[in-house]
Amino acid sequence: MTTRMKTYKLGQITAVFLSLFLVLLSASACGGRQNHPTNDTGVTVTAEPAATAVGETTLVVTLTDASGQPVSDATVQVRGDMTHAGMTPVLRTGLPTEPGVYSVPFEWTMAGDWIVTVDFTLADGRSGTETFNFSIPTS
């Protein structure tokens, strides 16, 4: 009887923890949070750094629509993160230099792996986000 009771309690506790885990997984699967970068504007984004070495550089961001035409009059915000937790991000604003082309003064503050996030807002108010990975070698 005692053994059965112990087994029952053990099963209950296990069930509680499994349930907690399933709730977490469900929350993830159901997209309970809107925090993942998306781009359903149909705009194609590219981001090309002038240099991939530690130090200051310029990031050239281009926006083109579905027909390949440059997208002007957009606002472009760039965020550079290293993959490591705890790193202060590099935050910059893009300046239009020619139709569909935005120049972003940027700085690779450290060697290693970077994730550059480009947030853009079109003139009609629609917005999107794209991310790009870069590896900056030790100088």
């Binding site: 112990k6 309690k9 053990l10 506790i13 296990t14 923890f17 907690l20 885990f21 977490l24 997984l25 929350a27 993830s28 309970g32 949070r33 809107q34 925090n35 993942h36 970068p37 965020r79 993160d81 290293m82 993959t83 490591h84 937790a85 705890g86 790193m87 202060t88 991000p89 935050l91 450290m110 060697a111 290693g112 792996d113 994730i115 996030t117 990975n133 590896s135 070698p137 030790t138």
Partner: protein
Amino acid sequence: MTYNVLSFPLIGRFLRWRWGRLVLQTALLAVTAVLLYDGFTGRPLAPTNLATVVTWVHYRGLVMLALLLFGNLFCMSCPFTLPRTLARKVSGHGRRWPRALRSKWLAIGVLFVYLWLYEWLDLWASPLLTAYVILAYFVASFVLEAIFAESPFCKYVCPLGTFNFASATISPTQITVLSPDTCRTCPGKECINGNGDVLGCGTELFAPQISSNMDCVFCLDCARACPYDNVALALRNPLHEATTPDAWPRRWDLHLLILVFAFAGLSNAFGMVPPVYTLEAALGRWLHTNNEGLVLFLIFAVLNLLLPVGLGLSAAWLSRRFAGRREPLRVALARYAPALLPLAFAVWFAHYAGFHFLSSAMTIVPVFQNFLLDHGLTFLGTPDWTLGPLLPGAWLDPFEMVVVLAGFAASFYAVGVRARRADGRPDTLAAQLPWLALLLALALAAMFIFYLPMEMRGAGFAG
């Protein structure tokens, strides 16, 4: 004994309170639940996710500070042992942990694997993997406690526990008893057996015989269970264990753990500096492989196992020879290995509390604000992503150097004290030289690594 923390106003009362530990554990469990949630559901970008920021920046930095200033506070507040305690209550005393595994060998192995996986899988860069690691701690703790007695997870398996036990040997507090005579005549030995309301010591340490923080999770159940209020949490000299020859049993596993702990501190920092890439690439070419896991395994097997064992045994052998002693090598190793503790701790401290925590502690503010915004909660405002360092970047290198030099000086002093207190007769300077040379080499290596530009490793390996 000078001061008993348990007799201090407020803090002493809280620590002795029956539910004191549970309050701390519950608070940390709530934090851990948030980390799991954000790790599994948040944006998979490490610098913006609570799971990675709190785990790899704040947990590690704050643990080092707590160990230096007080003691093993994390194990005291460990949320992983909450389900463990439940498991223990429902499963009774369980079976005994296998005799063959009652040592630190398994703990050394798990710590080695953990540190290797950390480097190979870039755990710091993945909120999802970090969440799985946290979950694995809960599962492992629960399962082992449900099957075995003697808290085998804490004592023999948990890599965090192993790290904290080794670090806590230089902490300024330790469990002891007010009157050994009271313990001698105590019929129930409740500190270890429990008293019906309070479990006894989970790691089966007998309070009057405790001479080290090794294996003590600071749960204070011994103090709560003692019917005579005879258990104290005493303030002590932080170098007590590093300088006291009889603080530890002369076991191979304990002393090799300290050597591994010391060398792993260096290799963990070495994993972030440019030469490791050169070494990886060279090794990959030599072995004709682009398998980073294999290459890193070999590098860390050498740095974390072969070098500490080889150099530690060499230092012990030379020291024994120079001292003209006839004794087992194990005894010669045990005479000086604990003297490495201050330097070993200093290297870990400089890396975790120095470089990572002081350079990034404030990032928790925008990351938490961002977490709230993800859920439509705006009362803390928009994130200020420029927040980050507690210390200006230019101060980090000098800070790390000072910490390493302080650790070196303390270890240097500990070698001298241990030489004076050696069995039978004091050791000569010649007998100390091999250990002093090892200390110097470790300190120079640490300073060299910390002066190199830190780099965030990741996808750079091409074989």
